[in-house]
């Protein structure tokens, strides 16, 4: 038992005292008073927690983690239960309604650590969407989030390291592991699988079909893409490439670098010392780009997109209504100036690295979205566009009109979504240095099971599985030369998220104690059959400070026990140290 170090209240360090500051202190004290009163023995004050997660059909590994956690919470006297929701209802509960105690899920993450700004900044604590679902609010932490985005290179690395240390300390969510991404693809109809991540723009671009192969048959386990194509929907997708295929962005990430996409040229540079902003970019769009409805795409559409993501009601609502996605992407922007049809100047409040994500948002056609806003607002005098929930961000947006390499063709709910090649797309031009699209048609079929998806690829009923295959089904991948097993590391991570708005998780000590009920090594070995990497941070190794590097056990919140076996006595003692009381039946009271 070498774990009684930093987390116990009798060993509170300076940072957590600071952390308990502004927001925590008031809540913590009022909680204490409640506790004293309730300790007098009311049955109802037993600590009850509900773990929100998706069913095994949605994510078998998540359910198993949730059940393990449930069992361990029960073992320390907490009345734990599972709250099982479909994928979209799960995100609705967590991201929109904030109606949860704690949840087990997977975060899509991003190529730059600045996604943490979106996840954790207190300015977003009351917004609905991917921004700060935890309701986490901590002033020193906000400073860390802001500091890392203003600088680049080594100084940024150091600040991100500080940020990660503070994150591990505060633990609004507890990262568990990075799963490996496994997929299968048939090699006899298409070539070029291994070149890129199969779920990216380049992944679909570089495929070469054999002669007389006119469509790529893609399998996804998630039916949501057949129901909704709204790029702003927070609940109907967390990752996946359809939006990237239908819409263009100024630049696109390829192998960790940003390459110009809709922009012919992106000149991103640090600002002069006497400017207000930190970085700026000059964007030149490619010539003669058009949306799928044949309307021209120009710099005004780009400027519109940024304004629209900031306020989807375009100033017509009583309060601004920021989009429930891409929140931190656009928050890096300080000014957008349209200089000509094809030229824009962007000014950033952040350094070059954090600014890059702003260039990856989907560019929306102004004529269509403005019309949608007008239609919804109408002539109303006082209009409220409920942030993250109003019609515009929840509508299905079918057919989606973008400018991307593929256009919407047809769909059947819960069965398929079919996209066809957009022949006027710039990737098809001779003078553009990007691979041209050879596939005529992409047919995304829905197959909810990993095992049945693999079987269908093996039987030539499909060409590739786009969704990540679940670990338990990997052993069914046949040893067949016509079937390629594609493996890539994942940025996305499994985690337990805490609702810091309410008791008991408004208290960082409790968040850390609950994290200590998770044996991450055991989870990776048993639940993921080793097809994952345990972690103490939400970022890949190159960002991790030395103290947080995983070495067989969690460096911050080690498991109470070993090999998946909980040492309930030790955990109970720690909870008592944190101010909780046990009754005669061993049940935990607040």
């Amino acid at each position: 038992m070498n774990r009684q170090s930093t987390t116990r209240p009798n060993g509170v360090d300076r940072r957590s005292v600071l952390a308990a500051g502004a927001t925590g202190l008031a809540l913590a004290t009022s909680g204490c008073i409640d506790r004293v009163e309730s300790a007098v023995g009311q049955e109802t004050d037993r600590l009850a927690l509900s773990i929100t997660t998706v069913p095994a059909d949605g994510d078998r590994e998540a359910v198993r983690i949730a059940r393990q956690l449930e069992a361990n919470l029960e073992a320390v006297g907490i009345d734990a239960s599972l709250d099982m929701r479909s994928r979209s209802e799960f995100l609705e509960a967590v991201l929109i309604d904030h109606d949860f105690d704690l949840y087990v899920g997977r975060h899509p993450a991003d190529f730059d650590p600045d996604f943490l700004y979106e996840m954790l900044h207190s300015a977003y604590a009351n917004e609905s969407g991917w921004q700060n679902p935890f309701g986490f609010a901590n002033i020193p932490f906000d400073d860390h989030l802001e500091a890392q985005r203003r600088v680049d290179g080594e100084p940024r690395r150091e600040r991100v390291a500080t940020l990660l240390e503070a994150l591990a300390e505060e633990n609004p969510f507890d990262p568990i592991c990075f799963p490996e991404e496994h997929r299968v693809a048939r090699t006899d109809r298409f070539e070029g699988w291994s070149a890129d991540h199969p779920e990216s723009r380049h992944g679909y671009l570089e495929l070469e079909p054999d002669e007389d192969v006119d469509r790529l048959r893609v399998l996804v386990t998630d039916s949501r893409i057949s129901r909704n194509l709204n790029p702003l929907s927070a609940t109907l997708r967390e990752r996946g490439s359809t939006i990237d295929l239908v819409y263009d962005s100024l630049a696109t990430e390829h192998d960790g670098d940003l390459v110009p996409w809709l922009a012919e040229d992106v000149e991103l540079r640090s600002a002069d010392g006497d400017d207000d902003h930190v970085a700026e970019a000059t964007i030149t769009l490619r010539e003669d780009c058009r949306f799928h409805d044949d309307e021209p795409l120009d710099a005004d559409d780009v400027a519109f997109t940024y304004r629209f993501l900031e306020d989807t009601a375009l100033g017509r609502s009583e309060f601004p209504s920021p989009a429930p996605r891409y929140r931190s992407h656009v928050s890096t922007l300080e000014g957008v100036t349209v200089e000509s049809d094809r030229e824009l100047r962007l000014e950033f409040a952040t350094g070059l690295e954090a600014a890059r994500r702003a260039l990856t948002v989907p560019i929306l056609p102004e004529h269509r979205w403005r019309e949608q806003v007008e239609a919804r607002v109408g002539n109303a005098e006082a209009f409220t566009a409920t942030q993250g929930q109003w019609g515009l961000v929840t509508m299905d947006n079918v057919p989606a009109i973008g400018s991307g390499p593929f256009r919407f063709e047809s769909r059947s709910e819960r069965e398929h979504l079919t996209l066809e090649r957009y022949d006027d797309h710039f990737t098809g031009r001779e003078d553009v240095d990007l691979p041209a699209v050879d596939v005529e048609r992409l047919q995304f079929g829905i197959d909810p099971g990993s095992a049945s998806s693999i079987e269908r690829v093996a039987n030539d009923g499909a060409d590739v599985t786009a969704s990540m295959l679940e670990a338990h089904a990997l052993e069914t991948i046949p040893d067949d030369p016509a079937v390629d097993h594609l493996e890539s590391p994942s940025r996305s991570f499994y985690h337990v998220g805490f609702n810091a708005r309410i008791e008991p998780f408004s208290n960082p000590h409790v968040r850390r104690l609950v994290a200590g009920l998770l044996d991450k090594s055991w989870i990776v070995d048993e639940i993921f059959d080793g097809h994952a990497t345990p972690t103490a941070t939400p970022l890949p190794e190159e960002w991790e400070p030395e103290e947080l590097i995983w070495e067989g056990t969690d460096p911050v919140t080690p498991f109470f026990g070993a090999d998946g076996e909980l040492d309930a006595e030790a955990a109970r003692a720690a909870l008592e140290d944190a101010g909780y009381r046990y009754d005669e039946q061993g049940r935990l009271h607040q």
Binding site: P55, L82, D83, R217, H416, P448, S452, E455, G461
Partner: protein
């Protein structure tokens, strides 16, 4: 593309159930009844048409609700997974302790083929009876099962054991062992439709009818009883339903059989219609 697997599975089911039907019609229904049916099928169809039409409408409604249901459920439904799990815990795992490869194969077969056969055969058998009331009652009981079941599915959102305890159920889980069946069941059902178990209620309905008609079909009753019990167990063995769903299914079956007796009169509606049509009744139509 989904269609390919589905067509293959459907063909398989059609062939197997067709064979079972052929054998059992020969064994249970017998030549005499078939000859009589060949002679009297028109009036019997006329008499049963309303009950049949109702069933068709109900099945169509079931199909429509597969699309519309989730939206409605999200608004009015109650999440009950945890309640069921709290109530019975890991009870369904008792079947895991007796699991063998043969048993898994048997119950998978029962769940898909046995069930389809169990529902279709009584339709043929009772149509072959000279009186049409049993046949009409059966169709009505089927309709009631679906309608009441559907109402519960809208009100109660719950996931079955396979969605809650995937690791304990990997050995017998139907869709892991035979992924192709997922395409079939997905056509008729959704994963939150677990309470009550319609597999159980329809199978039990057939079982009760088999008991009531044992004087006409003495050998069918034991066969139906074994099949119906197997279907009920298979839903738990394969991790699809909770024991509570199965119990509710049994209750639903009892209610539906009872109601079908009340609702379906001894004087067929067809007779009334004929009367309205002012056509003379043919003696064949009388019960």
């Amino acid at each position: 593309m989904d269609g390919e697997v589905l067509t293959r599975v459907l063909t398989q089911v059609a062939v197997v159930v067709g064979l079972l039907l052929a054998v059992s019609i020969a064994a249970f229904v017998g030549r005499d009844r078939l000859v009589a049916t060949a002679r009297e099928w028109r009036p019997r169809i006329r008499a049963s048409a309303p009950a049949f039409a109702v069933l068709v409408v109900v099945l169509w409604l079931n199909r429509v609700m597969r699309q519309a249901g989730p939206g409605i459920s999200e608004r009015i439904g109650l999440h009950m997974t945890e309640t069921f799990y709290d109530l019975e815990g890991e009870f369904v795992l008792v079947f895991q302790s007796i699991a063998t490869g043969e048993l898994t194969a048997y119950f998978s077969f029962i769940y898909v083929y046995g069930y389809a056969f169990l529902l279709i055969f009584p339709g043929v058998a009772y149509f072959a009876l000279s009186e049409t009331r049993t046949f009409r009652r059966l169709l009505t009981a089927y309709s009631l099962n679906y309608v009441i079941g559907l109402a519960f599915y809208l009100l109660i959102i719950a996931y079955g054991p396979r969605n809650v305890m995937p690791e304990e159920l990997t050995v017998t889980m139907l869709y892991d062992n035979s992924p192709e069946y997922q395409h079939l069941t997905r056509e008729v059902n959704r994963n939150t439709n677990v309470f009550p178990s319609l597999h159980t209620s329809l199978a039990a309905t057939v079982g009760i009818f088999a008991y009531e008609t044992r004087s006409s079909y003495p050998y069918w009753f034991p066969v139906a009883a074994v099949l119906a019990a197997s279907v009920a167990i298979s839903t738990m063995y394969l991790g699809i339903h909770w024991a509570i769903d199965v119990v509710a299914g049994l209750v639903l079956a009892g209610v539906c059989v009872r109601l079908s007796g009340t609702l379906v009169g001894r004087r067929p509606i067809a007779r009334l219609r004929r009367y309205l049509d002012r056509r003379p009744a043919s003696p064949d139509d009388r019960e």
